[in-house]
């Protein structure tokens, strides 16, 4: 509820709706008598001190009548909405329950009704059902129903495609039960939101019907009726019409605003917020002199999000030219955020802090903004899991590559395009000139990933960061991309950070391996030691649980019980402790990452 009061629209909507509800409850109690009191002395007066909105043809006070009419207006709108929504949900749900023929009939009817103008539908129904409040309510209900039916149908179809519905069907669960147990509960939220907005619309529509004389009939009165009565006098005594008009407008606006804000809040609530806050323990240690040879030197990198969410905790990493370092760890260990922090891409409201963040000999945080952008633009090449994320689907491949050269290197368009074709050829895309003139979607997944790598090669990259670049690809294509990355690193002398959850891929490609767990580096070792020289229990378990082409099939595979703590609940001590066989009382204290052998560091109390 709190987010409702955070935006002006939210505050206004909530206030207006609250006001309308109070008015509907209290209005007739307070002003009921006043609204009905006939006074032949003050017939058809304009605004005055005694009657701020004037009086009607029987001398009744119009302000009091407006305040009293709120109840009927809101009640009728609510009934109309409920009728429309109920009919709509039933119509929308039927096709999922009925046999195919019936389903098609219902769908067809709904489609026809949706295309039919709502107001006509309402008036048509109202005329058939008889003049008066009942007819108007039924009419508006009928006008609301098709929209609701369509929404229900669309939402239900999206849920019906979910695997759990397929599973339920395979289990032999009846269609009706699938609808009531799986589909409806999972689409209830958007439907309820829609209800708020429709309520505003129903209110306006009912006022419209009454105004046209099709709705509420005397002696009852709602806002629309009051407007109808006052409209003839609008030139002589405008206040008598403006009062009811303002009430209608305010109520309509209130419900629409509230509905909007609720809908937006709901769509934002996708990620649950963790309450428990884990303390980020900074790694103590002298920073020392910067490493002059390193292309990338990161010290004590920490990424935090509001609410104590700290996905990266004091990470340090150094990469030399020509070196490929693999960053491995399970999902959520902070690999991608580490890459994002290095590239300056951590999304708002994430915060990055580091003792040192040097790239190509300069600390990126000390550079002026334009130089920093230039450095990242020309020296850093990033490759992601989904190449489509890096390519603009609307632009031709060659043009996108050429843009890098025209923007950062001041090349002419023809030169840039020629270089783009050359680079595409370099990453072994067949017929590069033709491919350069195609859009990304015309290329296969592997070819797109090559194009992204070629884009990185337009400049002279000193650092390549590849985040799961082959995870979406088939093994045969994966192998070619890995080979390409290795060649590119060799010939450009760039430093490469290769991120993957697949330890076998890391083992095949990289020189050095950095293992992450719950935001921290737990082990750093030369690739040759990965298979049998790992010292951290987590690394060892990862290696043991990986089946390969030589694994003994008669023995069970190793596996690690439990799960990695989420970034908001990482404990103060060793984060792996509750999954670790070797854990002891000592492990309640955070083990530092310390040298173990040459080129090998471990953070574990048991590593000797």
């Amino acid at each position: 509820m709190r987010h409702l009061l955070r935006t002006p629209a939210g505050i206004a909507g909530t206030l207006l709706v609250a006001l309308m509800v109070i008015l509907a409850i209290a209005g007739p109690l307070i002003w009921g008598a006043e609204a009905e009191r006939i006074d032949s002395a003050v017939i058809l007066q304009g605004a005055s001190a005694a009657h701020p909105l004037g009086t009607d043809n029987l001398g009744r006070d119009i302000l009091a009548r407006v305040l009293v009419a709120g109840r009927l207006s809101l009640t009728l709108a609510m009934i109309a909405t409920l009728i429309g929504a109920t009919a709509g949900v039933i119509l929308g749900a039927l096709p999922s329950v009925l046999p195919r023929r019936g389903a098609r009939l219902v769908t067809g009817t709904v489609n026809a009704l949706v295309a039919f103008p709502g107001l006509l539908l309402a008036m048509f129904t109202a005329v058939i059902a008889g003049l008066g409040a009942r007819g108007a309510v039924l009419g508006i209900g009928a006008a609301i129903a098709p929209g609701f039916a369509r929404l229900t149908q669309t939402l239900a179809a999206s849920v019906a495609g979910a695997d759990y519905v397929a599973v339920a069907r395979m289990l032999g669960v009846s269609r009706w039960r699938v609808m009531t147990r799986h589909v409806l509960p999972n689409i209830a939220e958007p439907l309820i939101l829609q209800l708020t907005q429709v309520l505003g619309g129903a209110l306006l529509a009912l006022a419209g019907m009454s105004f046209l004389g099709l709705g509420v009939q005397p002696p009852s009165f709602d806002w629309g009726r009051l407007l109808f009565d006052g409209f003839g006098r609008i030139y002589a005594t405008p206040a008598v019409a403006l009062g009811p008009a303002a009430a209608i407008a305010l109520a309509g606006i209130g419900f629409n605003l509230l509905g909007d804000v609720l809908a937006r809040a709901a769509s934002r609530r996708a990620t649950p917020t963790d309450a428990a806050a884990g303390r980020a323990v900074p790694e103590v240690g002298e920073l020392g002199e910067p490493d002059p040879d390193a292309v990338l030197e990161v010290r004590d990198l920490t990424v935090t999000f509001p609410g104590g969410v700290t996905p990266v905790r004091g990470l340090s990493l150094t990469i030399a030219p020509g070196e490929i370092v693999g960053l491995v760890g399970e999902s959520g260990s902070g690999k991608s955020l580490t890459a994002a922090a290095i590239g300056g891409l951590v999304p708002y409201p994430g915060e990055v802090s580091a003792g040192r963040l040097r790239m190509c000999g300069a600390d990126v945080r000390e550079l002026p903004e334009d130089e920093c952008r230039k450095l990242l633009g020309t020296s850093l090449a990033m490759v992601f899991q989904d190449p489509m994320a890096a390519l603009n689907p609307a632009l031709k491949v060659g043009g996108q590559l050429a843009e890098v050269a025209t923007v950062h290197q001041g090349a002419s368009r023809a030169e840039a395009f020629a270089r783009a074709v050359d680079r595409l050829e370099h990453v072994r895309i067949p017929e590069p000139a033709a491919r350069a003139r195609q859009h990304p979607h015309e290329l296969s997944g592997g070819m797109r990933q090559r194009a992204v790598i070629a884009m990185g090669l337009m400049g002279a990259p000193r650092l390549i960061i590849a985040d799961e670049p082959t995870t979406a690809l088939d093994v045969t294509v994966q192998r070619e991309i890995l080979r390409l990355l290795r060649e590119v690193t060799d010939e450009t002398g760039a430093a490469t950070l290769f991120i993957s959850h697949d330890i076998a891929v890391i083992g095949e490609l990289c020189h050095r391996v950095v293992v992450m767990y719950a935001g921290r580096v737990v082990e750093e070792l030369p690739v040759g030691e990965l298979a049998s020289g790992a010292a951290h229990p987590y690394t060892r378990a990862l290696v043991a649980s990986l089946p390969d082409m030589e694994t003994d099939r008669s023995l069970p595979l190793a596996s690690i019980p439990g799960r990695q703590p989420s970034p908001a609940e990482v404990p103060g001590g060793c984060a792996f402790a509750d999954r670790c066989e070797l854990a002891s009382a000592k492990c309640a204290e955070l083990p530092p990452l310390i040298p173990y052998r040459a080129g090998h560091r471990v953070a574990c109390w048991e590593a000797k």
């Binding site: 979910a162 695997d163 147990r181 399970e330 093994v475 192998r479 083992g507 298979a531 099939r553 595979l557």
Partner: protein, 230 residues
């Protein structure tokens, strides 16, 4: 059971092209191939989720169960684990509780998990719940479609061990689909390879892995990333 000359067409596109494959009783048949090769379409056809031509003999279609890649999307987020597992059981209410407990125990999960919701479980646990649910209807054939692809290696092992123990303990026949050849090799008795909708090779696991007869199988085997173990 045996799949004979099964073909699935989507318009002009032939997703599964004349596939004949035997799944011996109590055996695990592994199906490998690249994305788009028709593995999942074959599985959906055998489960009766897509129309096909050809015949599936020796199994009642209502006794085929399928487990999907992403356990989070295959469990209704609003139902407790216990309710999800109980859903397919055709048992009187009184007997359900005991059966749910038996199924959870069968997949090595603590019985107390029945009260929890899918989001409160780890990926590996969720996948075991999905398997327990499928086992509840005593399937004649279980189809596992990339069931470990969304899992971390650290929990994948437990799910693979479960698959193998189910074959040993209850003699379950299974079609195990994966793009990961090492995983398929570990669990399967027979390996079948699909390429562009056709079955290019099928045979006992060690034979296919050690002496592949098809060129495409060889290129798949060559591409498997290997950790140099000394």
């Amino acid at each position: 059971m045996i799949i004979k000359n099964l073909t699935v067409r989507f318009g002009a596109f032939t997703a599964v092209d004349d596939v004949t494959l035997e799944i011996p009783d109590g055996a695990i048949v592994g199906l490998v191939g690249e994305s788009g090769s028709g593995k999942s379409t074959l599985a959906r056809a055998v489960s009766g989720l897509v129309p096909y031509t050809g015949v599936v003999e020796g199994v009642d279609p209502s006794r085929v169960q399928m487990v999907f890649q992403d356990p989070l999307t295959s469990l209704d987020p609003r139902m407790t684990i216990g309710a999800s597992v109980a859903e397919g059981l055709r048992l009187p209410r009184a007997a359900r509780q005991a059966e749910v407990e038996r199924l959870l125990t069968l997949v090595s999960l603590p019985v107390a998990l029945a009260e929890r919701y899918p989001r409160e479980l780890s990926g590996g646990q969720r996948q075991r719940v999905a398997i327990a649910r499928a086992l509840g209807v005593r399937p004649a054939l279980l189809i596992a479609d990339e069931i470990t692809s969304a899992l971390d290696v650290s929990v994948q092992g437990a799910v693979l061990n479960l698959i193998r123990s189910l074959r040993e303990e209850i003699g379950l026949s299974m079609l195990f689909i994966s793009h990961n050849l090492a995983v398929v090799r570990y669990v399967s008795d027979v390996v079948a390879v699909m390429h562009r909708g056709r079955l290019v090779e099928a045979g006992p696991t060690e034979e296919v892995v050690k002496a592949p007869s098809d060129a495409y199988t060889r290129s798949l085997l060559d591409a498997v990333p290997r950790l140099a173990r000394s």
